[in-house]
Amino acid sequence: MINKIVGSFDEAVADMVDGATVMIGSFGGPAECPSYLIAAVARKGVKDLTIVGNTGGWGPDLLAILRERMAVILTIPEDWYDPGLLVGRGQVKKGVLCFPAAPARVLTPFEQGVLQGQVELELMGQGTLCERMRAARGGIAAFYTPVGVGTVVEEGKEVREFNGRKYLLEHALKGDYSLIRAHKADRYGNLVYRGTARTFNPVMAGASTVTIAEVDEVVELGELDPECVVTPGVYVQRVVVRPKELRPWDEAM
Protein backbone atom coordinates (compact mmCIF):
# COMPACT_ATOMS: atom_id res chain seq x y z
CA MET A 1 0.00 0.00 0.00
CA ILE A 2 1.16 3.47 -0.85
CA ASN A 3 1.20 5.75 2.16
CA LYS A 4 3.47 8.77 2.11
CA ILE A 5 2.23 10.28 5.36
CA VAL A 6 5.08 10.57 7.85
CA GLY A 7 4.40 10.92 11.57
CA SER A 8 6.64 13.85 12.43
CA PHE A 9 8.68 16.66 10.97
CA ASP A 10 11.82 15.30 12.63
CA GLU A 11 11.25 11.91 11.02
CA ALA A 12 10.63 13.56 7.64
CA VAL A 13 14.10 15.15 7.57
CA ALA A 14 15.90 12.45 9.56
CA ASP A 15 18.05 11.32 6.63
CA MET A 16 19.29 14.78 5.68
CA VAL A 17 23.07 15.06 5.85
CA ASP A 18 25.62 17.88 5.88
CA GLY A 19 26.20 19.41 2.46
CA ALA A 20 22.73 18.67 1.14
CA THR A 21 21.10 20.90 -1.48
CA VAL A 22 17.72 21.91 -0.09
CA MET A 23 15.03 23.66 -2.12
CA ILE A 24 12.70 25.67 0.08
CA GLY A 25 9.38 26.72 -1.38
CA SER A 26 8.93 30.03 0.32
CA PHE A 27 8.18 33.15 -1.69
CA GLY A 28 8.06 35.98 0.81
CA GLY A 29 5.05 35.49 3.04
CA PRO A 30 4.16 32.99 5.75
CA ALA A 31 1.43 31.04 3.94
CA GLU A 32 3.67 29.54 1.29
CA CYS A 33 6.56 28.75 3.63
CA PRO A 34 7.25 25.20 4.92
CA SER A 35 7.92 26.61 8.38
CA TYR A 36 7.84 23.41 10.41
CA LEU A 37 10.08 21.57 7.97
CA ILE A 38 12.57 24.43 8.17
CA ALA A 39 12.35 24.24 11.96
CA ALA A 40 13.04 20.51 11.82
CA VAL A 41 16.16 21.11 9.69
CA ALA A 42 17.26 23.73 12.22
CA ARG A 43 16.80 21.23 15.07
CA LYS A 44 18.65 18.54 13.16
CA GLY A 45 21.57 20.94 12.88
CA VAL A 46 22.87 19.73 9.50
CA LYS A 47 25.51 22.10 8.12
CA ASP A 48 27.02 23.30 4.83
CA LEU A 49 23.62 23.32 3.19
CA THR A 50 23.00 24.87 -0.19
CA ILE A 51 19.57 26.45 -0.07
CA VAL A 52 17.60 27.14 -3.23
CA GLY A 53 14.61 29.42 -3.43
CA ASN A 54 13.31 32.93 -3.80
CA THR A 55 14.73 34.46 -0.62
CA GLY A 56 17.33 33.75 2.02
CA GLY A 57 14.73 34.66 4.59
CA TRP A 58 14.47 37.24 7.36
CA GLY A 59 15.40 35.13 10.35
CA PRO A 60 13.71 35.31 13.76
CA ASP A 61 15.00 38.75 14.80
CA LEU A 62 13.94 40.63 11.66
CA LEU A 63 10.68 38.70 11.55
CA ALA A 64 9.89 39.93 15.06
CA ILE A 65 10.46 43.53 13.94
CA LEU A 66 8.49 42.96 10.73
CA ARG A 67 5.62 41.42 12.70
CA GLU A 68 5.32 44.56 14.77
CA ARG A 69 5.73 47.06 11.93
CA MET A 70 3.41 45.25 9.51
CA ALA A 71 0.65 44.73 12.07
CA VAL A 72 -1.42 47.57 10.62
CA ILE A 73 -1.63 45.95 7.20
CA LEU A 74 -0.95 42.24 7.75
CA THR A 75 -1.04 39.79 10.63
CA ILE A 76 2.10 37.68 10.62
CA PRO A 77 1.76 34.38 12.47
CA GLU A 78 4.15 33.52 15.30
CA ASP A 79 5.09 30.19 13.73
CA TRP A 80 6.58 31.58 10.54
CA TYR A 81 10.08 30.07 10.47
CA ASP A 82 11.84 31.01 7.26
CA PRO A 83 15.17 30.12 5.61
CA GLY A 84 16.79 32.93 7.63
CA LEU A 85 16.56 30.64 10.67
CA LEU A 86 18.98 28.22 9.01
CA VAL A 87 21.23 30.96 7.71
CA GLY A 88 21.39 32.68 11.09
CA ARG A 89 22.38 29.43 12.78
CA GLY A 90 25.32 28.97 10.41
CA GLN A 91 23.88 25.93 8.65
CA VAL A 92 24.06 27.41 5.16
CA LYS A 93 27.16 27.69 2.99
CA LYS A 94 25.51 28.79 -0.23
CA GLY A 95 22.25 30.24 -1.52
CA VAL A 96 20.87 29.97 -5.04
CA LEU A 97 18.40 32.80 -4.72
CA CYS A 98 16.43 35.52 -6.48
CA PHE A 99 15.83 37.77 -3.49
CA PRO A 100 18.79 37.53 -1.09
CA ALA A 101 18.76 41.20 -0.11
CA ALA A 102 16.08 42.86 1.95
CA PRO A 103 14.20 45.55 0.02
CA ALA A 104 15.38 48.09 2.61
CA ARG A 105 18.59 49.18 4.26
CA VAL A 106 18.34 46.48 6.91
CA LEU A 107 20.58 43.43 6.41
CA THR A 108 19.16 39.90 6.38
CA PRO A 109 21.15 37.03 7.91
CA PHE A 110 21.99 35.96 4.38
CA GLU A 111 23.34 39.39 3.43
CA GLN A 112 25.39 39.44 6.62
CA GLY A 113 26.76 36.01 5.82
CA VAL A 114 27.80 37.08 2.33
CA LEU A 115 29.41 40.31 3.57
CA GLN A 116 31.32 38.32 6.19
CA GLY A 117 32.51 35.87 3.55
CA GLN A 118 30.78 32.92 5.19
CA VAL A 119 28.05 32.36 2.66
CA GLU A 120 28.22 32.19 -1.13
CA LEU A 121 25.52 33.66 -3.35
CA GLU A 122 24.41 32.50 -6.79
CA LEU A 123 21.94 35.15 -7.91
CA MET A 124 19.38 34.74 -10.65
CA GLY A 125 15.93 35.91 -11.62
CA GLN A 126 12.78 33.95 -10.76
CA GLY A 127 12.13 32.83 -14.31
CA THR A 128 15.53 31.21 -14.62
CA LEU A 129 15.37 29.62 -11.19
CA CYS A 130 11.91 28.16 -11.85
CA GLU A 131 12.90 26.88 -15.24
CA ARG A 132 16.09 25.28 -13.93
CA MET A 133 14.07 23.39 -11.30
CA ARG A 134 11.39 22.38 -13.80
CA ALA A 135 14.15 21.15 -16.13
CA ALA A 136 15.40 18.89 -13.33
CA ARG A 137 11.89 17.55 -12.74
CA GLY A 138 11.32 17.02 -16.45
CA GLY A 139 14.64 15.55 -17.59
CA ILE A 140 15.82 18.57 -19.60
CA ALA A 141 19.61 19.06 -19.25
CA ALA A 142 19.76 22.75 -20.11
CA PHE A 143 17.92 25.52 -21.97
CA TYR A 144 18.44 28.92 -23.51
CA THR A 145 16.75 31.92 -21.91
CA PRO A 146 16.99 35.53 -23.07
CA VAL A 147 16.99 36.82 -19.50
CA GLY A 148 20.27 38.03 -18.05
CA VAL A 149 22.32 38.61 -21.20
CA GLY A 150 24.63 41.57 -20.65
CA THR A 151 24.16 41.58 -16.87
CA VAL A 152 25.88 40.08 -13.85
CA VAL A 153 23.86 36.91 -14.45
CA GLU A 154 25.74 36.24 -17.69
CA GLU A 155 29.12 35.69 -16.02
CA GLY A 156 30.65 32.34 -16.91
CA LYS A 157 27.73 31.29 -19.08
CA GLU A 158 27.49 30.42 -22.76
CA VAL A 159 25.80 33.10 -24.88
CA ARG A 160 24.21 31.99 -28.13
CA GLU A 161 22.13 33.74 -30.75
CA PHE A 162 18.81 32.39 -32.02
CA ASN A 163 16.89 34.36 -34.63
CA GLY A 164 18.95 37.47 -33.97
CA ARG A 165 18.45 37.54 -30.20
CA LYS A 166 21.00 36.52 -27.60
CA TYR A 167 20.27 33.82 -25.03
CA LEU A 168 22.07 32.34 -22.03
CA LEU A 169 22.53 28.63 -21.51
CA GLU A 170 21.15 27.65 -18.11
CA HIS A 171 21.40 24.16 -16.61
CA ALA A 172 18.92 21.98 -14.78
CA LEU A 173 19.15 22.41 -11.03
CA LYS A 174 18.41 19.29 -9.01
CA GLY A 175 18.14 19.22 -5.24
CA ASP A 176 18.54 16.53 -2.65
CA TYR A 177 15.43 17.71 -0.81
CA SER A 178 12.52 19.94 -1.76
CA LEU A 179 10.74 21.27 1.32
CA ILE A 180 7.38 22.52 0.16
CA ARG A 181 4.15 23.81 1.64
CA ALA A 182 0.72 22.72 0.42
CA HIS A 183 -2.86 22.89 1.60
CA LYS A 184 -4.22 19.35 1.30
CA ALA A 185 -2.69 15.98 0.50
CA ASP A 186 -3.87 12.40 0.16
CA ARG A 187 -1.84 9.29 0.96
CA TYR A 188 -0.53 9.11 -2.63
CA GLY A 189 1.05 12.53 -2.10
CA ASN A 190 -1.31 14.34 -4.48
CA LEU A 191 -1.32 18.01 -3.49
CA VAL A 192 -3.46 21.11 -3.80
CA TYR A 193 -2.45 24.58 -2.67
CA ARG A 194 -4.27 27.76 -1.66
CA GLY A 195 -4.13 30.92 -3.75
CA THR A 196 -0.74 32.50 -4.18
CA ALA A 197 0.71 30.13 -1.58
CA ARG A 198 1.12 27.87 -4.62
CA THR A 199 4.01 29.93 -6.10
CA PHE A 200 7.35 28.04 -6.05
CA ASN A 201 6.04 24.99 -4.19
CA PRO A 202 4.78 22.88 -7.12
CA VAL A 203 7.81 23.95 -9.15
CA MET A 204 10.13 22.36 -6.60
CA ALA A 205 8.05 19.20 -6.25
CA GLY A 206 9.86 16.47 -8.18
CA ALA A 207 12.97 18.60 -8.70
CA SER A 208 14.80 16.86 -5.84
CA THR A 209 15.52 13.27 -4.98
CA VAL A 210 13.19 13.64 -1.99
CA THR A 211 10.23 16.02 -1.93
CA ILE A 212 8.59 16.58 1.45
CA ALA A 213 5.28 18.41 1.70
CA GLU A 214 4.10 20.21 4.83
CA VAL A 215 0.32 20.34 4.62
CA ASP A 216 -2.63 21.75 6.52
CA GLU A 217 -4.65 18.59 6.15
CA VAL A 218 -4.60 15.01 4.86
CA VAL A 219 -7.78 13.87 3.15
CA GLU A 220 -9.07 10.48 2.05
CA LEU A 221 -8.11 9.16 -1.35
CA GLY A 222 -10.69 10.45 -3.82
CA GLU A 223 -11.50 13.66 -1.95
CA LEU A 224 -9.21 15.74 -4.15
CA ASP A 225 -10.81 16.53 -7.50
CA PRO A 226 -8.59 14.80 -10.11
CA GLU A 227 -9.04 17.83 -12.39
CA CYS A 228 -7.69 20.19 -9.72
CA VAL A 229 -4.73 18.24 -8.35
CA VAL A 230 -1.77 20.57 -8.92
CA THR A 231 1.07 18.25 -7.93
CA PRO A 232 0.56 14.57 -8.74
CA GLY A 233 1.83 12.30 -5.98
CA VAL A 234 4.51 10.86 -8.23
CA TYR A 235 6.59 13.94 -7.40
CA VAL A 236 6.17 13.65 -3.63
CA GLN A 237 7.93 11.19 -1.32
CA ARG A 238 6.77 12.33 2.14
CA VAL A 239 3.88 14.29 3.61
CA VAL A 240 3.69 15.77 7.12
CA VAL A 241 0.69 17.49 8.68
CA ARG A 242 1.13 20.86 10.40
CA PRO A 243 0.20 21.08 14.08
CA LYS A 244 -3.16 22.64 14.91
CA GLU A 245 -1.56 24.72 17.66
CA LEU A 246 1.42 27.00 17.19
CA ARG A 247 4.68 25.33 18.25
CA PRO A 248 8.10 26.89 18.86
CA TRP A 249 10.77 26.00 16.32
CA ASP A 250 13.13 24.36 18.80
CA GLU A 251 10.60 21.91 20.19
CA ALA A 252 10.94 18.36 18.89
CA MET A 253 7.90 17.37 16.86
Binding site: F27, G28, G29, P30, A31, E32, N54, A71, V72, I73, L74, T75, P77, C98, F99, P100, A101, P103, A104, R105, E111, V114, L115, L121, L123, M124, G125, Q126, G127, T128, C130, E131, M133, R134, T145, P146, V147, G148, V149, G150, T151, V152, V153, Y193, R194, G195, T196, A197, R198, T199, F200, N201, P202, V203, V230
Partner: protein, 223 residues
Protein backbone atom coordinates in the same frame (compact mmCIF):
# COMPACT_ATOMS: atom_id res chain seq x y z
CA UNK B 1 12.02 78.58 -11.69
CA UNK B 2 10.34 75.34 -12.82
CA UNK B 3 6.97 74.17 -11.51
CA UNK B 4 6.41 71.73 -8.67
CA UNK B 5 7.37 68.12 -9.02
CA UNK B 6 4.51 65.66 -9.27
CA UNK B 7 3.95 63.50 -6.23
CA UNK B 8 4.09 59.69 -6.34
CA UNK B 9 0.33 59.26 -6.67
CA UNK B 10 0.17 61.64 -9.63
CA UNK B 11 3.13 59.92 -11.25
CA UNK B 12 1.28 56.61 -10.91
CA UNK B 13 -1.85 58.21 -12.34
CA UNK B 14 0.12 59.37 -15.39
CA UNK B 15 1.62 55.91 -15.87
CA UNK B 16 -1.80 54.28 -15.63
CA UNK B 17 -2.96 56.33 -18.61
CA UNK B 18 -0.75 54.05 -20.70
CA UNK B 19 -2.94 51.05 -19.96
CA UNK B 20 -5.21 50.17 -22.88
CA UNK B 21 -8.35 48.07 -22.70
CA UNK B 22 -7.58 44.36 -22.44
CA UNK B 23 -3.93 44.73 -21.55
CA UNK B 24 -1.97 42.45 -19.20
CA UNK B 25 -0.08 44.66 -16.75
CA UNK B 26 2.63 43.81 -14.23
CA UNK B 27 3.52 46.43 -11.64
CA UNK B 28 6.85 46.48 -9.83
CA UNK B 29 7.13 47.26 -6.14
CA UNK B 30 7.18 50.83 -4.87
CA UNK B 31 5.50 53.67 -6.78
CA UNK B 32 4.35 51.39 -9.64
CA UNK B 33 2.06 49.59 -7.20
CA UNK B 34 -0.13 52.70 -6.96
CA UNK B 35 -0.95 52.52 -10.69
CA UNK B 36 -3.66 49.96 -10.00
CA UNK B 37 -5.69 52.68 -8.28
CA UNK B 38 -5.81 54.83 -11.43
CA UNK B 39 -6.95 52.58 -14.27
CA UNK B 40 -9.24 54.64 -16.50
CA UNK B 41 -12.75 53.40 -15.65
CA UNK B 42 -13.72 52.62 -19.24
CA UNK B 43 -10.77 50.27 -19.58
CA UNK B 44 -10.55 46.70 -18.33
CA UNK B 45 -7.00 45.58 -17.67
CA UNK B 46 -5.70 42.44 -15.96
CA UNK B 47 -2.97 42.72 -13.38
CA UNK B 48 -0.44 39.94 -13.26
CA UNK B 49 1.84 39.23 -10.34
CA UNK B 50 4.83 36.95 -10.78
CA UNK B 51 4.09 34.84 -7.70
CA UNK B 52 1.28 33.26 -9.69
CA UNK B 53 -1.94 35.25 -10.01
CA UNK B 54 -3.59 37.18 -12.81
CA UNK B 55 -6.73 39.31 -12.77
CA UNK B 56 -6.76 40.11 -9.06
CA UNK B 57 -8.48 43.06 -7.40
CA UNK B 58 -7.28 45.99 -5.27
CA UNK B 59 -4.67 45.82 -2.53
CA UNK B 60 -6.21 45.27 0.90
CA UNK B 61 -5.09 47.65 3.63
CA UNK B 62 -7.08 46.31 6.57
CA UNK B 63 -5.38 43.27 8.14
CA UNK B 64 -8.78 41.90 9.18
CA UNK B 65 -9.75 41.56 5.52
CA UNK B 66 -6.39 40.18 4.40
CA UNK B 67 -5.72 36.54 3.62
CA UNK B 68 -2.08 35.56 3.51
CA UNK B 69 -2.82 33.08 0.73
CA UNK B 70 -3.58 35.93 -1.66
CA UNK B 71 -0.67 38.35 -1.97
CA UNK B 72 1.11 40.18 -4.78
CA UNK B 73 4.81 40.00 -5.65
CA UNK B 74 5.49 42.70 -3.07
CA UNK B 75 3.84 40.43 -0.44
CA UNK B 76 0.94 42.86 -0.02
CA UNK B 77 -2.48 41.28 0.52
CA UNK B 78 -4.73 41.61 -2.52
CA UNK B 79 -8.39 40.90 -3.15
CA UNK B 80 -9.98 38.24 -5.29
CA UNK B 81 -11.91 39.25 -8.40
CA UNK B 82 -14.14 37.39 -10.85
CA UNK B 83 -12.06 35.98 -13.69
CA UNK B 84 -8.93 35.68 -11.57
CA UNK B 85 -6.66 32.69 -12.16
CA UNK B 86 -3.96 31.12 -9.98
CA UNK B 87 -0.93 29.36 -11.40
CA UNK B 88 2.46 28.16 -10.22
CA UNK B 89 5.54 30.35 -10.38
CA UNK B 90 7.04 28.63 -13.43
CA UNK B 91 3.89 29.18 -15.49
CA UNK B 92 3.65 32.72 -14.20
CA UNK B 93 7.17 33.38 -15.43
CA UNK B 94 6.31 31.78 -18.80
CA UNK B 95 3.73 34.54 -19.12
CA UNK B 96 6.51 37.07 -18.58
CA UNK B 97 9.37 35.45 -20.50
CA UNK B 98 7.07 34.45 -23.36
CA UNK B 99 6.22 38.10 -24.00
CA UNK B 100 2.58 37.90 -22.91
CA UNK B 101 2.80 40.91 -20.55
CA UNK B 102 1.79 44.04 -22.45
CA UNK B 103 3.20 46.62 -20.05
CA UNK B 104 5.39 46.39 -17.00
CA UNK B 105 5.90 49.46 -14.84
CA UNK B 106 9.16 49.21 -12.91
CA UNK B 107 10.95 51.43 -10.44
CA UNK B 108 14.45 52.56 -11.31
CA UNK B 109 17.69 53.47 -9.63
CA UNK B 110 19.10 54.67 -12.97
CA UNK B 111 17.91 54.68 -16.58
CA UNK B 112 20.36 55.49 -19.35
CA UNK B 113 19.59 57.33 -22.57
CA UNK B 114 19.96 53.97 -24.34
CA UNK B 115 17.22 52.48 -22.16
CA UNK B 116 19.51 50.53 -19.85
CA UNK B 117 17.82 49.90 -16.51
CA UNK B 118 19.53 49.56 -13.13
CA UNK B 119 17.13 48.81 -10.31
CA UNK B 120 18.08 45.60 -8.51
CA UNK B 121 20.60 46.94 -6.00
CA UNK B 122 19.48 49.56 -3.52
CA UNK B 123 22.11 52.33 -3.55
CA UNK B 124 24.52 51.86 -0.69
CA UNK B 125 23.94 48.11 -0.58
CA UNK B 126 26.37 45.54 -1.93
CA UNK B 127 23.93 42.76 -2.62
CA UNK B 128 20.91 43.05 -4.88
CA UNK B 129 17.69 41.15 -5.47
CA UNK B 130 16.60 40.32 -9.01
CA UNK B 131 13.26 38.78 -8.05
CA UNK B 132 10.99 38.68 -11.10
CA UNK B 133 12.02 42.14 -12.22
CA UNK B 134 14.80 41.04 -14.53
CA UNK B 135 12.47 38.73 -16.44
CA UNK B 136 10.00 41.60 -16.77
CA UNK B 137 12.65 44.07 -17.91
CA UNK B 138 13.92 41.67 -20.58
CA UNK B 139 10.64 40.28 -21.85
CA UNK B 140 7.60 42.53 -21.36
CA UNK B 141 6.28 44.01 -24.61
CA UNK B 142 6.62 47.51 -23.17
CA UNK B 143 8.79 48.49 -20.21
CA UNK B 144 7.93 51.74 -18.47
CA UNK B 145 10.37 53.08 -15.90
CA UNK B 146 8.47 55.06 -13.30
CA UNK B 147 10.80 57.09 -11.14
CA UNK B 148 11.61 60.52 -9.83
CA UNK B 149 13.89 62.33 -12.25
CA UNK B 150 16.54 62.83 -9.58
CA UNK B 151 17.38 61.26 -6.22
CA UNK B 152 16.43 62.96 -2.97
CA UNK B 153 19.97 64.39 -2.98
CA UNK B 154 19.44 65.86 -6.44
CA UNK B 155 21.59 63.37 -8.36
CA UNK B 156 20.27 62.48 -11.79
CA UNK B 157 18.56 59.10 -12.19
CA UNK B 158 18.13 59.58 -15.92
CA UNK B 159 21.74 59.39 -17.07
CA UNK B 160 24.01 59.12 -20.10
CA UNK B 161 25.48 55.83 -18.84
CA UNK B 162 24.38 53.80 -15.83
CA UNK B 163 27.04 53.57 -13.14
CA UNK B 164 25.06 50.97 -11.22
CA UNK B 165 24.94 47.28 -12.11
CA UNK B 166 22.32 46.68 -14.81
CA UNK B 167 19.07 44.80 -14.39
CA UNK B 168 18.72 44.74 -18.17
CA UNK B 169 20.39 46.61 -21.01
CA UNK B 170 18.34 48.57 -23.57
CA UNK B 171 15.00 47.46 -22.22
CA UNK B 172 13.13 50.65 -21.26
CA UNK B 173 10.69 52.04 -23.80
CA UNK B 174 9.24 54.96 -21.87
CA UNK B 175 10.34 56.87 -18.77
CA UNK B 176 7.66 58.54 -16.70
CA UNK B 177 8.98 60.86 -14.01
CA UNK B 178 7.86 63.60 -11.68
CA UNK B 179 8.83 66.27 -14.21
CA UNK B 180 8.69 64.72 -17.69
CA UNK B 181 7.79 61.81 -19.91
CA UNK B 182 10.51 60.59 -22.27
CA UNK B 183 10.77 57.85 -24.87
CA UNK B 184 13.86 55.80 -25.60
CA UNK B 185 14.16 55.73 -29.38
CA UNK B 186 16.84 54.57 -31.82
CA UNK B 187 17.80 58.26 -32.14
CA UNK B 188 18.08 58.75 -28.39
CA UNK B 189 16.00 60.05 -25.53
CA UNK B 190 13.01 62.01 -26.84
CA UNK B 191 11.04 64.38 -24.62
CA UNK B 192 7.28 63.82 -24.99
CA UNK B 193 5.70 65.67 -22.09
CA UNK B 194 6.71 68.08 -19.34
CA UNK B 195 5.01 68.61 -16.00
CA UNK B 196 3.06 71.89 -15.62
CA UNK B 197 5.49 74.76 -15.26
CA UNK B 198 8.48 72.83 -16.59
CA UNK B 199 10.33 73.46 -19.85
CA UNK B 200 12.55 71.24 -21.94
CA UNK B 201 15.53 73.32 -20.77
CA UNK B 202 14.60 72.74 -17.11
CA UNK B 203 14.54 69.01 -17.72
CA UNK B 204 17.80 68.96 -19.69
CA UNK B 205 19.52 70.93 -16.93
CA UNK B 206 19.00 68.02 -14.51
CA UNK B 207 20.74 65.30 -16.54
CA UNK B 208 23.89 64.63 -18.55
CA UNK B 209 21.84 62.46 -20.90
CA UNK B 210 21.13 64.18 -24.21
CA UNK B 211 17.45 64.95 -24.52
CA UNK B 212 15.99 65.37 -28.00
CA UNK B 213 13.22 67.95 -28.01
CA UNK B 214 10.74 67.59 -30.85
CA UNK B 215 8.43 70.49 -31.69
CA UNK B 216 5.34 68.78 -30.29
CA UNK B 217 6.26 68.38 -26.60
CA UNK B 218 3.06 68.52 -24.57
CA UNK B 219 2.20 69.38 -21.04
CA UNK B 220 1.41 66.25 -19.00
CA UNK B 221 -2.34 65.85 -18.75
CA UNK B 222 -3.33 64.06 -15.63
CA UNK B 223 -7.08 63.62 -15.91
Amino acid sequence: MPGERLDEQVMALRAAKEFQDGMIINLGVGIPTYCSNFVPPEREVLFHSENGVIGFGPIIDNPDDADDTLINAGAQPISSKPGMAIMDHAESLCIIRGGHVDITVLGAVQVSEKGDLANYIIPGKQIGSLGGGQDLAFCAKKVIALTTFTTKDGDPKIVKECTQSLTAPRCVHRIITDIAVLDVTPEGLVLREVAPGWTAEDVQALTDAKIIVPPDVEEMTLL
